[in-house]
């Protein structure tokens, strides 16, 4: 529970790096830094989006995970085929909790796993025939699906299957779009490249398919981009936008559909929540269709109010008035939450280590509760993410990129935060160290955390984690007795 000075933070980094062999130390040193909120270009102090060091434990995913798991998976009325061996899809099935409305197996397929289940003979003789057969079967068994995406796993690229031609033939046969995605796991250094590949596939195979169809848009049409509806996030967001008088035409991609994506080129504004995974398509739509995009942040009342006003500024006075009314209506609810939880959470220190947008976006929500974020980092962020992060963090706070298991553990030991926000792989080690952890990838089976409704849940969850009585019971009874007896003897 210490706030370190710049020199101390730097000393801590040096100390942690000491155990590495020289070459590894030099490499890792570039990924760790003490924050300087004054700088514009994060590149000066931190390197990111590089290959992880062999031999250390990192928690990055692969390009397939970025494409199938993050971007494409939540599109509920399409069937996403994990093309290759069965494990990649099955072990990640339904793990992200992208909620959706629909009847699973009939007109929605979000939590199901479709795979071509490669065997040795498919590797040896190629899997194109199998894929063609599978496309037929899918059409027969699930006639209400609106399209198929073929998500390549590692072997597809290695054996050189031609999924594009199979997809084209299949699409002509069933009269629905079939999208081949070249997201083999070995591409790139992390899941981040998978996001990019998935964005490009949407651009090439989906986005322009309704260009030239009659324009039925209104001046208030917007799209929510980069919200995966984890625990209902996109719904909590959508309510607010609709109350402002906007029409949400598409959700990318949580609870989203193929038709929504095809209609997106007609919206007036793209609202981008997860910059990392969907800035590519936003930039493309800005160039091709002239649709402006803006990043917003719906974590915590301070940032929500700020974002709502910035969104409203794109529209006319009617929307602006409604926005002020929305803000005024929710303010008492927010005040009540802050009044209830802030006294319990005030001054607590948090360390974050997550991916996507969270390492910077949730800082405001913690600050609304009087908590302080003393360290943050991205699993797979790029320079532009850190550019946006340095301003949000306090001076000399710790920033770590692609932290290894060892580094994270050491940092937590030294900084002694009251709460860690990270993933399932970090959860148990830190809990065993006696530090509460909230799993911030899929909100620890809770959520939503976006929007006003989400903040109520966020505040409650953080309080539950911190105030749980278990943290006082970490010393087992037999050890306690010894310690107590010693005290007695001494006395």
């Amino acid at each position: 529970m210490t706030t370190l000075s710049r020199a101390e933070t730097e000393a801590l980094i040096a100390e942690v790096l000491e155990v590495y062999p020289e070459k590894a130390r030099k490499d890792r040193a570039k990924h760790l830094t003490a924050n300087d909120p004054g700088i514009e270009q994060s590149k000066k102090c931190i390197t990111s989006n590089r290959k992880s060091l062999p031999g250390v434990m990192t928690i990055r995913g692969c390009a397939y995970a970025g494409s199938k798991g993050v971007v494409w998976g939540p599109i509920k009325d399409m069937i996403h085929i994990s093309h290759g061996p069965v494990g990649c899809g099955q072990y990640s099935r339904a793990g992200r909790r992208n909620y959706y409305v629909g009847t699973t197996g009939v007109d929605a397929f979000g939590t199901m796993n479709f795979t071509s289940d490669f065997q040795e003979k498919d590797i040896v003789f190629g899997g194109d025939k199998k894929l063609a057969k599978l496309l037929d079967e899918v059409e027969q068994l699930f006639p209400l699906h609106r399209g198929i995406s073929v998500q390549s796993e590692c072997p597809i690229g290695l054996i050189g299957d031609d999924i594009e031609s199979v997809s084209k033939k299949g699409a002509a046969a069933i009269g629905k779009p079939i999208v081949p995605v070249r997201c083999e796991g070995f591409r790139g250094v992390s899941q981040s490249l998978g996001h990019h590949i998935a964005n490009d596939a949407i651009r090439d195979w989906v986005l322009d398919k309704r260009d030239g169809s009659p324009d039925t848009s209104t001046p208030y049409d917007v799209a929510i981009i980069g919200d995966y509806n984890i625990g209902g996030d996109a719904w909590a967001t959508r309510i607010l936008l609709e109350e402002m008088g906007l029409r949400v035409v598409a959700q990318w991609s949580g609870d989203g559909t193929l038709a929504e994506m095809m209609n997106t080129p007609k919206v007036k504004l793209n609202l981008l929540h997860c910059y990392r995974s969907m800035n590519y398509i936003s930039r493309h739509m800005e160039e091709k269709y002239g649709i402006p995009w803006m990043e917003y942040n719906f974590f915590g009342p301070t940032k929500i109010v700020e974002s709502l006003r910035r969104i409203a500024a794109f529209f006319d006075d009617q929307v602006k008035e409604k926005t002020e009314a929305v803000i005024a209506r929710y303010q008492p609810m927010m005040d009540a939450i802050v009044a209830r939880y802030k006294p319990r959470l005030q001054g607590k220190k948090v360390m974050l280590y997550v991916g996507g947008l969270r390492p910077r976006h949730v800082i405001g929500a913690y600050e609304d509760l009087g908590m302080e974020v003393i360290g943050t980092g991205y699993e797979f962020g790029h320079n532009d993410d850190y550019d946006r992060t340095t301003k949000e963090m306090g001076d000399a706070t710790l920033i770590y990129d692609d932290a290894t298991g060892f580094e994270l553990e050491e940092f937590v030991k030294k900084l002694k935060p009251d709460l860690v926000g990270s993933g399932i792989k970090e959860k148990y080690i830190f809990q065993k160290m006696g530090i509460p952890l909230r799993q911030m990838h899929s909100w620890d089976y809770s959520g939503p955390y976006h929007g006003y409704d989400g903040f109520a849940i966020f505040a409650r969850d953080m309080d539950i984690a911190l105030s749980s009585p278990v943290w006082g019971k970490l010393v087992p009874p037999w050890k306690k007795t010894v310690a107590e007896e010693e005290v007695k003897e001494a006395a």
Partner: protein, 75 residues
């Protein structure tokens, strides 16, 4: 040569974006910025400089272009 994108910055002015390197930087000066000729040498506020072939009139922004780096890599 690298693919770059130039877009209108939120607060006026132009932003330079180099996707390959996730480089986003404000453009501090552009050599030709008249209705008849647009482009040339771009100076970035981080010290870097790039060259784009001048075109006949200012394009609709944002625009993707090919650019050549002038001088050493900035960092």
């Amino acid at each position: 040569m690298a693919n770059i994108m130039i877009r209108q910055a939120d607060g006026g002015g132009l932003t330079f974006y180099l996707p390959k390197r996730d480089l986003e930087a404000p453009i501090s000066s552009i050599e030709f910025d008249t209705p008849e000729k647009w482009g040339g040498e771009l100076k970035l506020d981080n010290g870097g400089a790039y060259y784009i072939d001048p075109i006949a009139r200012p394009p609709r922004l944002p625009v993707s272009l090919r650019a050549r780096r002038l001088g050493a890599a900035e960092d």
